[in-house]
Protein backbone atom coordinates (compact mmCIF):
# COMPACT_ATOMS: atom_id res chain seq x y z
CA UNK A 1 0.00 0.00 0.00
CA UNK A 2 2.72 2.44 0.94
CA UNK A 3 4.49 1.63 -2.30
CA UNK A 4 1.56 2.62 -4.46
CA UNK A 5 1.23 5.90 -2.58
CA UNK A 6 4.84 6.67 -3.29
CA UNK A 7 4.36 5.82 -6.97
CA UNK A 8 1.34 8.09 -7.16
CA UNK A 9 3.19 10.95 -5.51
CA UNK A 10 6.03 10.53 -8.00
CA UNK A 11 3.64 10.64 -10.91
CA UNK A 12 1.97 13.75 -9.56
CA UNK A 13 5.31 15.45 -9.26
CA UNK A 14 6.42 14.58 -12.78
CA UNK A 15 3.05 15.54 -14.26
CA UNK A 16 3.28 18.88 -12.51
CA UNK A 17 6.70 19.38 -14.02
CA UNK A 18 5.35 18.61 -17.45
CA UNK A 19 2.49 21.05 -16.91
CA UNK A 20 5.00 23.70 -15.92
CA UNK A 21 7.00 23.17 -19.07
CA UNK A 22 4.02 23.14 -21.40
CA UNK A 23 2.64 26.20 -19.65
CA UNK A 24 5.91 27.99 -20.28
CA UNK A 25 5.90 26.93 -23.91
CA UNK A 26 2.35 28.11 -24.23
CA UNK A 27 3.26 31.51 -22.93
CA UNK A 28 6.32 31.77 -25.14
CA UNK A 29 4.18 30.85 -28.15
CA UNK A 30 1.53 33.36 -27.12
CA UNK A 31 4.03 36.18 -26.97
CA UNK A 32 5.51 35.05 -30.29
CA UNK A 33 2.12 35.16 -31.95
CA UNK A 34 1.66 38.81 -31.13
CA UNK A 35 5.02 39.68 -32.63
CA UNK A 36 4.52 37.43 -35.64
CA UNK A 37 1.04 38.80 -36.18
CA UNK A 38 2.37 42.35 -36.19
CA UNK A 39 5.00 41.38 -38.72
CA UNK A 40 2.40 39.76 -40.94
CA UNK A 41 0.30 42.90 -40.90
CA UNK A 42 3.26 45.22 -41.35
CA UNK A 43 4.60 43.26 -44.28
CA UNK A 44 1.31 42.78 -46.05
CA UNK A 45 1.23 46.14 -47.90
CA UNK A 46 4.46 45.34 -49.72
CA UNK A 47 3.40 42.01 -51.09
CA UNK A 48 -0.13 43.23 -51.84
CA UNK A 49 1.02 46.36 -53.63
CA UNK A 50 3.61 44.40 -55.55
CA UNK A 51 1.06 41.87 -56.71
CA UNK A 52 -1.33 44.66 -57.61
CA UNK A 53 1.26 46.50 -59.66
CA UNK A 54 2.30 43.41 -61.56
CA UNK A 55 -1.26 42.38 -62.27
CA UNK A 56 -2.09 45.82 -63.53
CA UNK A 57 0.95 45.77 -65.74
CA UNK A 58 0.13 42.32 -67.01
CA UNK A 59 -3.42 43.36 -67.80
CA UNK A 60 -2.16 46.37 -69.68
CA UNK A 61 -0.54 43.81 -71.93
CA UNK A 62 2.84 45.21 -71.11
CA UNK A 63 4.94 42.24 -71.85
CA UNK A 64 5.01 38.55 -72.52
CA UNK A 65 7.62 38.08 -69.85
CA UNK A 66 7.67 34.52 -68.46
CA UNK A 67 6.57 35.79 -65.06
CA UNK A 68 3.36 37.15 -66.49
CA UNK A 69 2.40 34.65 -69.14
CA UNK A 70 1.75 30.98 -68.45
CA UNK A 71 3.94 28.65 -70.46
CA UNK A 72 2.39 26.31 -72.90
CA UNK A 73 2.32 22.73 -71.73
CA UNK A 74 4.06 23.22 -68.42
CA UNK A 75 6.24 20.27 -67.54
CA UNK A 76 8.04 20.16 -64.23
CA UNK A 77 6.53 22.23 -61.44
CA UNK A 78 8.22 23.58 -58.35
CA UNK A 79 6.42 23.15 -55.03
CA UNK A 80 7.61 25.03 -51.97
CA UNK A 81 6.41 23.46 -48.73
CA UNK A 82 6.64 25.61 -45.61
CA UNK A 83 6.76 23.63 -42.37
CA UNK A 84 8.12 24.31 -38.91
CA UNK A 85 11.51 23.37 -37.50
CA UNK A 86 10.22 22.10 -34.19
CA UNK A 87 7.32 19.91 -33.27
CA UNK A 88 4.90 20.22 -30.37
CA UNK A 89 2.52 22.25 -32.45
CA UNK A 90 -0.41 19.91 -32.90
CA UNK A 91 -1.48 19.10 -36.41
CA UNK A 92 0.32 22.06 -37.95
CA UNK A 93 2.91 20.15 -39.94
CA UNK A 94 0.68 17.17 -40.65
CA UNK A 95 -1.86 19.48 -42.26
CA UNK A 96 0.70 21.22 -44.42
CA UNK A 97 2.24 17.94 -45.53
CA UNK A 98 -1.15 16.45 -46.32
CA UNK A 99 -1.99 19.42 -48.50
CA UNK A 100 1.42 19.19 -50.16
CA UNK A 101 0.83 15.53 -50.95
CA UNK A 102 -2.58 16.35 -52.36
CA UNK A 103 -1.17 19.10 -54.55
CA UNK A 104 1.58 16.83 -55.83
CA UNK A 105 -0.88 14.10 -56.69
CA UNK A 106 -2.94 16.66 -58.54
CA UNK A 107 0.10 17.94 -60.42
CA UNK A 108 1.17 14.41 -61.25
CA UNK A 109 -2.20 13.56 -62.70
CA UNK A 110 -2.07 16.77 -64.74
CA UNK A 111 1.19 15.53 -66.21
CA UNK A 112 3.36 18.00 -64.30
CA UNK A 113 6.19 16.44 -62.40
CA UNK A 114 6.51 18.11 -58.98
CA UNK A 115 9.89 19.24 -57.77
CA UNK A 116 10.15 19.79 -54.04
CA UNK A 117 11.55 22.75 -52.19
CA UNK A 118 11.13 22.41 -48.45
CA UNK A 119 11.46 24.90 -45.62
CA UNK A 120 11.50 23.70 -42.03
CA UNK A 121 13.04 20.73 -40.25
CA UNK A 122 9.82 18.76 -39.96
CA UNK A 123 9.15 18.89 -43.68
CA UNK A 124 12.67 17.93 -44.66
CA UNK A 125 12.61 15.05 -42.20
CA UNK A 126 9.30 13.86 -43.59
CA UNK A 127 10.46 13.80 -47.19
CA UNK A 128 13.91 12.46 -46.39
CA UNK A 129 12.39 9.56 -44.48
CA UNK A 130 10.26 8.76 -47.51
CA UNK A 131 13.33 9.02 -49.73
CA UNK A 132 11.85 11.74 -51.87
CA UNK A 133 14.20 14.03 -53.71
CA UNK A 134 14.28 17.62 -52.56
CA UNK A 135 15.71 20.22 -54.90
CA UNK A 136 16.19 22.63 -52.06
CA UNK A 137 15.82 22.58 -48.31
CA UNK A 138 16.24 25.33 -45.78
CA UNK A 139 15.91 25.09 -42.02
CA UNK A 140 16.52 27.04 -38.87
CA UNK A 141 14.31 30.08 -39.21
CA UNK A 142 10.72 28.87 -39.23
CA UNK A 143 9.73 30.75 -36.08
CA UNK A 144 11.32 34.09 -36.85
CA UNK A 145 11.98 34.28 -40.59
CA UNK A 146 13.69 37.33 -42.00
CA UNK A 147 13.97 38.64 -45.51
CA UNK A 148 17.40 37.17 -46.35
CA UNK A 149 15.99 33.73 -45.45
CA UNK A 150 13.20 34.23 -47.94
CA UNK A 151 15.69 35.54 -50.46
CA UNK A 152 17.76 32.38 -50.36
CA UNK A 153 14.81 30.13 -51.01
CA UNK A 154 13.16 32.44 -53.52
CA UNK A 155 16.30 33.01 -55.56
CA UNK A 156 16.92 29.32 -55.93
CA UNK A 157 13.40 28.87 -57.19
CA UNK A 158 13.67 31.90 -59.45
CA UNK A 159 16.73 30.37 -61.06
CA UNK A 160 14.84 27.12 -61.67
CA UNK A 161 11.86 29.00 -63.01
CA UNK A 162 13.96 31.05 -65.40
CA UNK A 163 15.65 27.91 -66.71
CA UNK A 164 12.36 26.27 -67.63
CA UNK A 165 11.61 22.58 -67.43
CA UNK A 166 13.65 21.69 -70.48
CA UNK A 167 16.87 22.95 -68.95
CA UNK A 168 18.94 22.79 -65.82
CA UNK A 169 20.18 25.85 -64.00
CA UNK A 170 23.51 26.98 -65.39
CA UNK A 171 26.27 28.34 -63.21
CA UNK A 172 27.30 31.93 -63.44
CA UNK A 173 29.08 32.84 -66.62
CA UNK A 174 32.75 33.75 -66.52
CA UNK A 175 32.52 37.50 -66.40
CA UNK A 176 29.94 37.40 -63.66
CA UNK A 177 32.01 35.16 -61.46
CA UNK A 178 32.57 38.03 -59.09
CA UNK A 179 28.94 38.93 -58.86
CA UNK A 180 27.61 38.62 -55.40
CA UNK A 181 25.00 36.05 -54.66
CA UNK A 182 25.31 36.26 -50.93
CA UNK A 183 21.58 36.14 -50.58
CA UNK A 184 21.28 39.40 -48.76
CA UNK A 185 19.38 40.63 -51.75
CA UNK A 186 19.62 44.27 -50.97
CA UNK A 187 22.38 45.42 -53.20
CA UNK A 188 24.34 43.27 -55.48
CA UNK A 189 24.74 44.16 -59.04
CA UNK A 190 24.67 47.91 -58.86
CA UNK A 191 24.07 49.43 -62.22
CA UNK A 192 24.23 46.30 -64.30
CA UNK A 193 21.03 46.31 -66.25
CA UNK A 194 21.16 43.31 -68.46
CA UNK A 195 21.15 40.65 -65.78
CA UNK A 196 20.25 41.96 -62.40
CA UNK A 197 19.70 38.43 -61.17
CA UNK A 198 22.53 36.06 -60.41
CA UNK A 199 21.42 32.53 -59.64
CA UNK A 200 22.64 31.44 -56.22
CA UNK A 201 25.29 28.76 -55.98
CA UNK A 202 22.95 26.22 -54.47
CA UNK A 203 20.68 26.40 -57.51
CA UNK A 204 23.36 25.26 -59.92
CA UNK A 205 22.58 22.04 -61.68
CA UNK A 206 18.99 21.87 -60.49
CA UNK A 207 16.31 20.98 -62.98
CA UNK A 208 14.31 23.91 -64.22
CA UNK A 209 10.58 24.29 -63.63
CA UNK A 210 7.70 25.92 -65.49
CA UNK A 211 5.50 26.81 -62.56
CA UNK A 212 6.00 27.58 -58.90
CA UNK A 213 3.53 26.76 -56.17
CA UNK A 214 3.76 27.35 -52.47
CA UNK A 215 2.03 25.38 -49.71
CA UNK A 216 1.88 27.15 -46.37
CA UNK A 217 -0.48 27.92 -43.51
CA UNK A 218 -2.18 31.25 -44.00
CA UNK A 219 -2.75 33.22 -40.84
CA UNK A 220 -6.23 34.73 -40.91
CA UNK A 221 -6.66 35.41 -37.24
CA UNK A 222 -5.72 34.00 -33.88
CA UNK A 223 -8.42 31.39 -34.11
CA UNK A 224 -8.29 30.66 -37.79
CA UNK A 225 -5.35 29.45 -39.82
CA UNK A 226 -5.79 27.59 -43.01
CA UNK A 227 -3.42 25.53 -45.11
CA UNK A 228 -3.21 27.19 -48.48
CA UNK A 229 -1.59 26.26 -51.72
CA UNK A 230 -1.21 28.92 -54.34
CA UNK A 231 0.63 29.45 -57.55
CA UNK A 232 3.17 32.23 -57.34
CA UNK A 233 4.69 32.05 -60.81
CA UNK A 234 3.61 32.69 -63.43
CA UNK A 235 1.15 35.21 -62.09
CA UNK A 236 -2.38 33.95 -61.99
CA UNK A 237 -4.59 36.43 -63.74
CA UNK A 238 -8.16 35.68 -62.99
CA UNK A 239 -9.68 37.60 -65.84
CA UNK A 240 -7.38 36.63 -68.64
CA UNK A 241 -10.35 35.87 -70.82
CA UNK A 242 -13.20 37.94 -69.48
CA UNK A 243 -11.85 41.44 -69.32
CA UNK A 244 -14.75 42.98 -67.42
CA UNK A 245 -14.12 41.64 -63.95
CA UNK A 246 -12.35 44.46 -62.20
CA UNK A 247 -12.62 43.22 -58.62
CA UNK A 248 -10.50 40.15 -58.88
CA UNK A 249 -7.21 41.63 -57.84
CA UNK A 250 -8.60 42.37 -54.44
CA UNK A 251 -8.19 46.11 -54.45
CA UNK A 252 -10.35 46.98 -57.41
CA UNK A 253 -9.75 50.69 -57.05
CA UNK A 254 -9.91 52.47 -60.35
CA UNK A 255 -8.98 49.27 -62.02
CA UNK A 256 -10.83 49.77 -65.24
CA UNK A 257 -9.25 53.15 -65.70
CA UNK A 258 -5.82 51.83 -65.05
CA UNK A 259 -6.17 49.20 -67.65
CA UNK A 260 -7.06 51.70 -70.31
CA UNK A 261 -4.31 54.07 -69.37
CA UNK A 262 -1.10 53.69 -71.29
CA UNK A 263 1.61 52.51 -68.96
CA UNK A 264 5.11 53.79 -69.28
CA UNK A 265 7.96 51.50 -68.33
CA UNK A 266 11.42 52.43 -67.36
CA UNK A 267 13.55 50.68 -68.41
CA UNK A 268 11.73 48.85 -71.17
CA UNK A 269 9.29 46.15 -70.01
CA UNK A 270 11.50 43.14 -70.66
CA UNK A 271 14.37 44.49 -68.60
CA UNK A 272 12.07 45.87 -65.95
CA UNK A 273 10.28 42.59 -65.40
CA UNK A 274 13.59 40.76 -65.33
CA UNK A 275 14.48 42.96 -62.40
CA UNK A 276 11.14 42.76 -60.70
CA UNK A 277 10.66 39.03 -60.92
CA UNK A 278 13.22 37.92 -58.31
CA UNK A 279 11.96 40.65 -55.98
CA UNK A 280 8.40 39.58 -56.52
CA UNK A 281 9.10 35.96 -55.69
CA UNK A 282 11.09 37.00 -52.63
CA UNK A 283 8.14 39.08 -51.50
CA UNK A 284 5.70 36.23 -51.97
CA UNK A 285 7.94 33.71 -50.23
CA UNK A 286 8.63 36.14 -47.41
CA UNK A 287 4.92 36.78 -46.94
CA UNK A 288 4.30 33.03 -46.87
CA UNK A 289 7.07 32.57 -44.28
CA UNK A 290 5.66 35.27 -42.03
CA UNK A 291 2.17 33.82 -42.26
CA UNK A 292 3.52 30.37 -41.55
CA UNK A 293 5.51 31.62 -38.56
CA UNK A 294 2.44 33.24 -37.03
CA UNK A 295 0.36 30.14 -37.71
CA UNK A 296 3.04 27.92 -36.22
CA UNK A 297 3.06 29.88 -32.99
CA UNK A 298 -0.73 29.86 -32.88
CA UNK A 299 -0.80 26.10 -33.43
CA UNK A 300 1.87 25.60 -30.79
CA UNK A 301 0.05 27.77 -28.32
CA UNK A 302 -3.14 25.78 -28.81
CA UNK A 303 -1.35 22.45 -28.56
CA UNK A 304 0.50 23.52 -25.44
CA UNK A 305 -2.64 24.87 -23.83
CA UNK A 306 -4.35 21.55 -24.41
CA UNK A 307 -1.31 19.75 -23.00
CA UNK A 308 -1.28 21.95 -19.90
CA UNK A 309 -4.99 21.43 -19.35
CA UNK A 310 -4.63 17.69 -19.71
CA UNK A 311 -1.68 17.62 -17.36
CA UNK A 312 -3.66 19.56 -14.76
CA UNK A 313 -6.60 17.19 -15.11
CA UNK A 314 -4.23 14.31 -14.65
CA UNK A 315 -2.76 15.90 -11.55
CA UNK A 316 -6.27 16.31 -10.11
CA UNK A 317 -7.12 12.67 -10.73
CA UNK A 318 -3.83 11.43 -9.40
CA UNK A 319 -4.16 13.60 -6.31
CA UNK A 320 -7.56 12.11 -5.66
CA UNK A 321 -6.15 8.63 -6.05
CA UNK A 322 -3.23 9.45 -3.82
CA UNK A 323 -5.54 10.82 -1.14
CA UNK A 324 -7.60 7.66 -1.29
CA UNK A 325 -4.49 5.56 -0.95
CA UNK A 326 -3.35 7.67 1.99
CA UNK A 327 -6.75 7.37 3.68
CA UNK A 328 -6.76 3.65 3.13
CA UNK A 329 -3.29 3.42 4.60
CA UNK A 330 -4.30 5.38 7.70
CA UNK A 331 -7.45 3.31 8.12
CA UNK A 332 -5.42 0.19 7.87
CA UNK A 333 -2.88 1.44 10.40
CA UNK A 334 -5.64 2.36 12.85
CA UNK A 335 -7.30 -1.00 12.52
CA UNK A 336 -3.91 -2.64 13.00
CA UNK A 337 -3.27 -0.63 16.16
CA UNK A 338 -6.77 -1.29 17.48
CA UNK A 339 -6.39 -4.96 16.63
CA UNK A 340 -2.99 -5.04 18.37
CA UNK A 341 -4.31 -3.25 21.50
CA UNK A 342 -7.26 -5.61 21.67
CA UNK A 343 -4.95 -8.58 21.42
CA UNK A 344 -2.79 -7.21 24.27
CA UNK A 345 -5.86 -6.50 26.46
CA UNK A 346 -7.01 -10.09 26.31
Amino acid sequence: MAASLRVLRRRIRSTKNIAQITKAMEMVAASRIVKAQNRVHAARPYSDEFTHVLKTAAKAGASDHPLLVAREEPGRTGVLVVTSDRGLCGGYNANVLREAERLMRELNSAGKEPQLFVIGGKGTAYFRFRKRDMAGQWTGFSEVPDYPNATRAADTMTACFLAGSAETVQGESEDEQQGSSDGSGEGGEGASRSSSFVPPKEAEGLDGVDELHVVYTAFNSLSSQRVTSSQIAPLELEEDDESSDGESDGSGSGDSQERQAEYEFEPEPEVLFDRLMPKYLRARVFAALLDAAASESAARQRAMKAATDNANDLVDNLTREANQARQAQITQEISEIVGGANALAE
Binding site: A42, Y46, G254, E262, E264, F265, E266, P267, L272
Partner: protein
Protein backbone atom coordinates in the same frame (compact mmCIF):
# COMPACT_ATOMS: atom_id res chain seq x y z
CA UNK B 1 -2.52 72.58 -55.01
CA UNK B 2 -3.17 69.17 -56.38
CA UNK B 3 -1.87 66.33 -54.33
CA UNK B 4 -1.39 62.62 -54.74
CA UNK B 5 -1.30 59.64 -52.46
CA UNK B 6 2.28 58.66 -51.79
CA UNK B 7 3.48 55.61 -49.93
CA UNK B 8 6.90 54.22 -49.23
CA UNK B 9 6.48 50.54 -48.55
CA UNK B 10 9.36 48.42 -47.30
CA UNK B 11 9.43 44.66 -47.13
CA UNK B 12 8.84 44.61 -43.40
CA UNK B 13 6.59 47.62 -43.00
CA UNK B 14 4.99 50.65 -44.56
CA UNK B 15 7.41 53.45 -43.81
CA UNK B 16 5.37 56.45 -44.75
CA UNK B 17 2.16 57.24 -46.47
CA UNK B 18 0.24 60.41 -46.99
CA UNK B 19 -0.58 63.24 -49.33
CA UNK B 20 2.24 64.83 -51.23
CA UNK B 21 2.68 67.34 -53.98
CA UNK B 22 6.00 66.23 -55.40
CA UNK B 23 8.21 63.16 -55.46
CA UNK B 24 11.67 62.88 -56.88
CA UNK B 25 13.62 59.68 -57.30
CA UNK B 26 16.45 58.22 -59.30
CA UNK B 27 15.54 55.42 -61.65
CA UNK B 28 18.00 53.24 -63.44
CA UNK B 29 17.68 55.60 -66.41
CA UNK B 30 18.08 58.84 -64.52
CA UNK B 31 16.42 61.26 -62.15
CA UNK B 32 12.70 61.68 -62.35
CA UNK B 33 10.32 64.16 -60.78
CA UNK B 34 6.69 63.26 -60.31
CA UNK B 35 3.79 65.66 -59.95
CA UNK B 36 0.13 64.78 -59.51
CA UNK B 37 -1.48 63.66 -62.72
CA UNK B 38 1.60 61.93 -64.05
CA UNK B 39 1.23 59.32 -66.73
CA UNK B 40 0.92 55.81 -65.26
CA UNK B 41 4.34 54.30 -65.03
CA UNK B 42 6.35 51.52 -63.50
CA UNK B 43 10.01 52.23 -63.07
CA UNK B 44 12.91 50.42 -61.47
CA UNK B 45 14.88 52.58 -59.07
CA UNK B 46 18.61 52.65 -58.62
CA UNK B 47 19.80 49.75 -56.46
CA UNK B 48 20.75 52.32 -53.86
CA UNK B 49 19.14 55.69 -54.25
CA UNK B 50 17.51 58.60 -52.53
CA UNK B 51 13.87 59.59 -52.75
CA UNK B 52 12.63 63.06 -51.93
CA UNK B 53 9.04 63.67 -51.00
CA UNK B 54 7.32 67.03 -50.55
CA UNK B 55 4.27 66.28 -48.43
CA UNK B 56 1.36 68.66 -48.76
CA UNK B 57 1.82 69.54 -45.13
CA UNK B 58 5.17 69.88 -43.48
CA UNK B 59 8.73 69.83 -44.57
CA UNK B 60 10.01 67.82 -47.48
CA UNK B 61 12.10 64.85 -46.50
CA UNK B 62 14.42 62.23 -47.92
CA UNK B 63 14.62 58.49 -47.63
CA UNK B 64 17.26 56.03 -48.70
CA UNK B 65 15.77 53.29 -50.84
CA UNK B 66 17.46 50.03 -51.79
CA UNK B 67 16.37 47.61 -54.47
CA UNK B 68 13.17 49.47 -55.08
CA UNK B 69 10.80 50.39 -57.84
CA UNK B 70 7.92 52.76 -58.12
CA UNK B 71 4.47 52.53 -59.52
CA UNK B 72 2.74 55.70 -60.61
CA UNK B 73 -0.87 56.36 -61.43
CA UNK B 74 -2.55 59.71 -61.92
CA UNK B 75 -3.49 59.90 -58.23
CA UNK B 76 -0.83 57.91 -56.50
CA UNK B 77 2.83 57.07 -56.27
CA UNK B 78 3.87 53.89 -54.54
CA UNK B 79 7.51 53.22 -53.84
CA UNK B 80 8.24 49.60 -53.07
CA UNK B 81 11.66 48.80 -51.71
CA UNK B 82 13.39 45.76 -50.32
CA UNK B 83 14.97 48.03 -47.78
CA UNK B 84 14.16 51.66 -47.05
CA UNK B 85 15.26 54.05 -44.36
CA UNK B 86 13.87 57.45 -43.52
CA UNK B 87 16.45 60.19 -43.31
CA UNK B 88 16.04 60.65 -39.57
CA UNK B 89 16.56 56.94 -38.93
CA UNK B 90 19.92 56.89 -40.60
CA UNK B 91 22.99 56.61 -38.43
CA UNK B 92 25.35 58.99 -40.15
CA UNK B 93 28.45 57.90 -38.30
CA UNK B 94 28.01 54.23 -39.07
CA UNK B 95 27.20 54.99 -42.71
CA UNK B 96 30.42 56.95 -42.93
CA UNK B 97 32.33 54.06 -41.39
CA UNK B 98 30.78 51.72 -43.85
CA UNK B 99 31.68 53.94 -46.76
CA UNK B 100 35.27 54.15 -45.62
CA UNK B 101 35.51 50.42 -45.20
CA UNK B 102 33.92 49.79 -48.57
CA UNK B 103 36.19 52.27 -50.30
CA UNK B 104 39.17 50.72 -48.62
CA UNK B 105 38.28 47.84 -50.89
CA UNK B 106 37.32 44.28 -50.09
CA UNK B 107 38.33 41.07 -51.72
CA UNK B 108 35.21 41.21 -53.79
CA UNK B 109 35.13 44.30 -55.92
CA UNK B 110 31.42 44.15 -56.73
CA UNK B 111 30.44 43.69 -53.10
CA UNK B 112 32.55 46.62 -52.04
CA UNK B 113 31.17 48.82 -54.79
CA UNK B 114 27.60 47.94 -53.87
CA UNK B 115 28.30 48.56 -50.18
CA UNK B 116 29.85 51.91 -51.03
CA UNK B 117 26.83 52.84 -53.14
CA UNK B 118 24.53 51.93 -50.26
CA UNK B 119 26.53 53.96 -47.77
CA UNK B 120 26.55 56.94 -50.16
CA UNK B 121 22.80 56.78 -50.58
CA UNK B 122 22.36 56.69 -46.82
CA UNK B 123 24.55 59.75 -46.38
CA UNK B 124 22.85 61.66 -49.18
CA UNK B 125 19.45 60.90 -47.74
CA UNK B 126 20.58 62.09 -44.32
CA UNK B 127 21.66 65.36 -45.90
CA UNK B 128 25.37 64.73 -45.52
CA UNK B 129 27.92 64.95 -48.23
CA UNK B 130 29.38 61.52 -49.01
CA UNK B 131 32.62 63.00 -50.31
CA UNK B 132 34.11 64.88 -47.46
Amino acid sequence: MATMEVAIVGVEKRLWSGEASFVSARTVDGDIGLLPGHQPMIAALDEAGVVRIDPSEGESFHAAVFGGFLSVTAESVTILAELAEMAEEIDVASARDELQRAEGGGDDFDDAAAAAARARARLRAAGESPDR
